[in-house]
């Protein structure tokens, strides 16, 4: 019961933040509502027993990535969004397509979701850092090493792109 109430509260905060991201015209307001979405997603991860991921979500997403976004918005002195006509294909094909797709998924889940069962807050130490580290450094060691190369390339790319020419 407590689990359901907490899920509904944080789920509503998530959806409200995401809607606010779309409605706001100034990018800084959108960035701050995205922080709200990410923080409440971290709390939902805690409900799912993923303590390590909740901490990482707050530190990396709500902390590092969003600070980078806010920094760039302030650096570029971005004003309110101009209302221009976008692509007609995106408006008249993309939006109804997404509505149909999401509606179908939601309908299927509502009608046959009871067969899936439910998730509970487990008292075991599922999702603790120790178990994830064991999996990450044994079964997923090669992908982990490849991501370090990826990050190195990303850093070099960012430096080259951000360098002022001339």
């Amino acid at each position: 019961m407590v689990h359901q109430v907490l899920f509904i509260i944080f789920g509503l905060i998530c959806v409200a933040g995401a809607v606010n991201l779309l409605v706001q015209r100034h990018p800084i307001n959108s960035a701050l509502s995205l922080v709200v979405v990410m923080a409440s997603l971290a709390l939902i991860y805690l409900l799912l027993g993923a303590e390590f991921l909740a901490a990482i979500q707050v530190i990396v997403y709500a902390g590092a990535i969003m600070v980078l976004f806010v920094f760039v918005i302030m650096l570029l002195n971005a004003g309110a969004e101009e209302r221009t006509r976008g692509s007609h294909i995106a408006l008249f094909v993309g939006v109804p397509g997404v509505v149909v797709l999401a509606g179908t998924v939601a309908w299927l889940l509502i009608h046959s979701g009871s067969r899936l069962g439910g998730v509970t807050i487990s008292s075991s130490n599922f999702g603790e850092t120790h178990a994830i580290a064991r999996l990450l450094f044994q079964n997923f060691l090669l992908p982990f090493e490849v991501t370090s190369v990826l990050i190195l390339i990303a850093i070099m790319g960012a430096v080259v792109l951000g360098k002022r020419e001339g």
């Binding site: 799912l48 993923a50 990482i56």
Partner: protein, 113 residues
């Protein structure tokens, strides 16, 4: 107990809102934030399924057991890639703004910087 389908529906709603932002917004930074929203929505379904397989142990078709925690490791990798993507993407946005002096995607229609 919360049905797994609730989490998946929340994930679908967040993903759709991200797609709407991607299609309808005209500011390049907001479009980039919509992509981050979509990544977060996918992460939510990964974590929900990890918890689900932890309480409902199952095997794949070839008999190997599903490791529930690999969902968490996948989310970890998605976050790493998202961080790398944010660094490169924001550098590209700064580079575009230097030459075009605009953040409106309708005025950015050439691959040339």
């Amino acid at each position: 107990m919360v049905p797994l389908s609730w989490y998946l529906i929340l994930s679908a709603i967040l993903f759709s809102l991200g797609v709407f932002g991607f299609l309808l917004k005209r500011n390049i930074i907001t479009i980039f934030m919509s992509i981050e929203l979509m990544l977060n929505a996918v992460n939510l379904s990964f974590v929900a399924f990890a918890n689900y397989w932890n309480t409902h142990p199952a095997r794949l078709a070839d008999g190997t057991a599903i490791i529930p925690l690999s969902g968490h490791v996948f989310v970890f990798f998605v976050m790493v890639v998202a961080a790398a993507e944010a660094a490169v993407g924001l550098a590209i946005i700064i580079s575009i703004f230097r030459t075009r002096e605009t953040l409106n995607v309708d005025q950015v229609n050439l691959l040339k910087l």
